[in-house]
Symmetry: C2
Subunit: 571 residues, 2 copies
């Protein structure tokens, strides 16, 4: 492609509407243009990148034995009523009435449609296992669409659905897809992690999310320094610490007139934050269903994990206690509360780290006072519950026993689910097994946000000058830039020859023959993220060399023709 014949439309100003860097850079590079809230037109430049992602996904899915088909974007209400999701899916489901008042939705996912397809197409175990996928536009009517194509309403998704006569077969395909996703993101040149996940609204029994790692990611991930363990921070288990040391101090009162937080108390006392204990007052229910006052205790440097807490008996729908309730049960005001000497019987839920502490510091249930040298069994009863109720922190041991946990932020771009039989049961999808008996197939589903990957890749790969595409996603791998193409036919001829030679060698190359000043031309080529830049100039030709620069390199280098071709992989 010659840029003089291509619609490239970069923008100098940083668009005010964009909040995240990928959105800003996609607008500045002219990859997308907003049509309406959450709806984007992909320009010729943007589409080149989108198609490269789509192709990589398709080729790896095919190689993994999945079969591509294509489902309509518009789906009939009737199927969604069979699974109960017409109501349950919520406001993200874009509902449509046709001219005859028949109801449809713009598919946000396609479990219903594929299960309907399967119950008509599949009749025998001999047709299983099978994995159908499509790459199709989806719509989710986000309340607040934002971040460009990262959270657009209309987005391109690869969704795959597998059918199995038994759970073993599903487990094998789940592993196959897990491995395939790894190959896809590796091929795209992205740093990523597969993490354990909650199964959420789609339901099912096993699930992993695939995250592109980026500092700007919405999700906090914890991963092992020595294994491939990874999980959402909120779901990672904090392993139990070693045994509780013996008590060494006597309990004593500390005046803390204005110190209401563990940080302030530790600073005042000159002790590590790890010696303090934070008390969080909650209201749950007891075994009889009556309201129960609960004090949850975590170490001063830890954070209570609401998901873990809510898994404990009586705390499924807990809420924070009011000041009145705190006063009633503890005789304290917030900032000074603690588990020692409450006014009334209460339930104490201690994180495993807290249960293993000795000589710790807590609030005294008295304004302006804390207690130090507190010990379990001596100064207060042993806790009613000991459980993992905190978020993991960096440096915690990895739950799989290998290495310690590090943290990263991620952007979810893929998800694999072992669905089980939820959809086949709801929609009465059966096949005959080898003994002629009708059985409901187990299902898996496997999604990749194709258009979202484009934005995620930019979040991971950019600098102050613009995008830095991984090779496999770049609109072109190489840009051949011509200085003064019109003034010097030698330069134009040499550039044209190099451009043709590289493309003939299978290296996707663009010729920048627009005749811009070098500064403006280089700024564009950097902004749109071309990995390799070659400058053809009169001075270089005279010296028999080309100026080469990798997008991540700080300096250009002078290479002769052979060295250049070798560097670009064309020789």
């Amino acid at each position: 492609m010659r840029l003089s014949q291509f619609h490239l439309h970069t923008v100098k100003e940083t668009p005010a509407e964009a909040e995240v860097v990928s959105h800003k850079l996609m607008l500045k590079a002219g990859m997308i243009r907003k049509l309406a809230a959450g709806l984007y037109t992909w320009s010729p430049l943007g589409l080149r990148v989108l198609r490269k992602v789509e192709t990589a996904v398709r080729e790896e899915m095919n190689a993994a034995g999945a079969m591509e088909l294509l489902m309509p974007t518009v789906q009939p209400k009737e199927l969604w009523e069979e699974t109960g999701r017409w109501q349950k899916f919520g406001g993200q489901l874009l509902k449509i009435k046709d001219r005859k008042e028949a109801e449809y939705c713009y598919g946000p996912t396609a479990e219903e449609v594929i299960t309907d397809y399967a119950r008509n197409e599949l009749s025998s175990y001999k047709q299983l296992p099978v994995n159908f996928y499509n790459v199709q536009w989806k719509f989710r009517d986000e309340i607040r669409p934002r971040f460009g194509v990262m959270r657009a309403r209309e987005f391109l998704m690869k969704d795959a659905y597998s059918f199995h006569v038994d759970d073993e077969s599903l487990a094998a395909e789940y592993r196959n897809m897990y491995d395939t996703y790894g190959r896809i993101f590796t091929r795209l040149g992205l740093k990523f992690r597969a993490v354990f996940a909650d199964t959420g609204a789609i339901g099912g029994t096993a699930s992993h999310e695939f995250h592109v790692l980026a500092d700007s990611g919405e999700d906090a991930l914890a991963f092992s320094s020595e294994s491939d363990y990874a999980a959402n921070v909120e779901l990672a288990e904090a392993l139990p610490p070693g045994p509780r040391p013996a008590a060494a101090e006597a309990m004593r009162r500390i005046d803390t007139p204005t110190q209401k937080t563990c940080e302030d108390v530790a600073a005042l006392m000159g002790i590590p934050l790890q010696r303090t204990v934070k008390s969080v007052a909650l209201m749950g229910v007891d075994a009889e269903g009556q309201p129960q006052f609960v004090l949850a205790l975590v170490r001063g440097d830890h954070v209570v994990n609401e998901i873990k807490l809510a898994k404990l008996a009586g705390l499924g729908e807990y809420r924070l206690a009011t000041e009145g309730e705190i006063d009633t049960h503890l005789g304290s005001e917030p900032g000074f509360l603690g588990p020692v000497n409450p006014k009334q019987k209460l339930r104490i839920v201690a994180d495993r780290s807290v249960a293993a502490m000795a000589d710790f510091v807590v609030g005294a249930n008295e304004k302006g006072v804390h207690l130090a040298g507190v010990n379990w069994g001596r100064d207060l009863p042993e806790p009613d519950d000991v459980a993992d109720i905190r978020n993991v922190v960096e440096g915690d041991p990895s739950p799989d026993g290998k290495g310690t946990l590090g943290f990263a932020r991620g952007i979810e771009v893929g998800h694999v689910f072992a669905l089980g039989r939820r959809y086949s049961e709801a929609m009465q999808c059966t096949v005959l097994d080898s003994s002629g008996k009708p059985v409901m197939p187990a299902m898996g589903c496997y999604g990749i946000g194709v258009s979202r990957i484009v934005a995620a890749a930019i979040e991971q790969n950019h600098d102050a000058n613009g995008i830095i595409w991984p090779e496999a996603m770049a609109p072109w791998r190489v840009a051949v830039c011509v200085i003064n193409p019109k003034n010097d036919t030698n330069v134009a001829t040499a550039a044209e020859a190099l451009y043709r030679e590289l493309n003939a060698a299978g290296i996707d190359t663009v010729l920048d023959d627009r005749g811009l000043r070098p500064g403006a031309m280089f700024a564009d080529i950097e902004l749109i993220g071309i990995p390799h830049r070659v400058v053809v100039s009169e001075r270089g030709l005279a010296a028999g060399s080309f100026e080469y620069r990798h997008r991540r390199a700080s300096e250009a280098e002078s290479l002769d023709r052979a060295a250049l071709l070798a560097r670009l992989g064309a020789a």
Copy 2:
């Protein structure tokens, strides 16, 4: 691809829901499955064909210099209000409200979106001409969706839109697209015609439709035997005949007691139908806007063309005259009316063929009587209007003066329009011309029904056994069929080797290793329309030969390996 690992699902029964052969065969071959009215899932087999069409269209569009981008399927109401089409488009426009009650439609076409894109992206004549296209799903909410993907509601369309600083540039791109469409349909192996067309609802100044020729086509086409002239029958001009001969007969009364049609009268008299004249009584308006009784005359073997008639002064909104009006003006009842001796003054509009007749036969305005030997100027005044008001018939001279007209039926699969400035004016899209003055660009638009082509190709290419794909559209070009793959490892090995060799040579080949009986296997391969079939059997291998049959051949032939590879283009 090995069929044992592919989801092929052919059906023996002819589906009752299908009215046309392409719909029947696509269902029987398992290419599509109905999801809801006018919504179809494309199976893995169907999608292979759809993608081949899409790829051919894309490659030819790129080669023609058009630039692919991608617009959302959902479009905001505001843009459609700028052009007035939110109201005018009618019931086919699928309107959508999102969760915030904002209004959208599922795009049935994209003039508004691309013009909005252009007014933001294009600012200078230097960026023109430019031709943007996309291949995207569209929706038209047909009252009666039918014929499968031929008239589905959700369908895949390639739509291109060009922008030009002047009309000459538009004319050049129009010609470029016209030629490109010819290359696309030729490459797809389809018999087609480009025909002059009315510009219809989209509006504009010049337009051609591209039709795939098929006996089952909805549109009747007239084309020249010697040139590339072609037009919808209704639009083709009937050229004026030679000069009127001199009168040779006296006018006389013929008793026609029960003969009310030209056919019956000609049969009674033993004369050619071409000697009779049909009189059609109409009500139009005169120059003062008053109701005017009009007698339109065409030759007995001709048919009145309503479109042509309505272009005459006073007949823009004509209607047929009532029996009362006929009696008032002619004193006749239907079946015997004619232009001679009316009761009142009337307007006579004669087709050019009729104006050139002598000694003709017409109704006598008297029950049971016709007049023969009638002549203009002698027995009745010369006609008030002489015009082309009839449909052309086969054998008429071609309007371009070259050869005679033949008829064919066609299925519209493409359309090119020179739109002019209708959309750029309505949406205030301007660019600066070379003198720095803002001008509204002239536009062209160019559509191809990608999914419809699949059905149209089948209408043109099928037999009693199923589909006969043109090479470029076939899901696979060659099927290698293995007899008893499990019983005989030599046969399986030889078939596998041939299958690999053909694919390695770039010939898209499928291996039928399902182990079906030969009859069932061959029936499937014929039904799904694979152009070349090769049978690998023990007996053939012993004789060093393969059984080869082209889908259109009546007999199989025995070919040795070299001859087979040569025949398939692999050697």
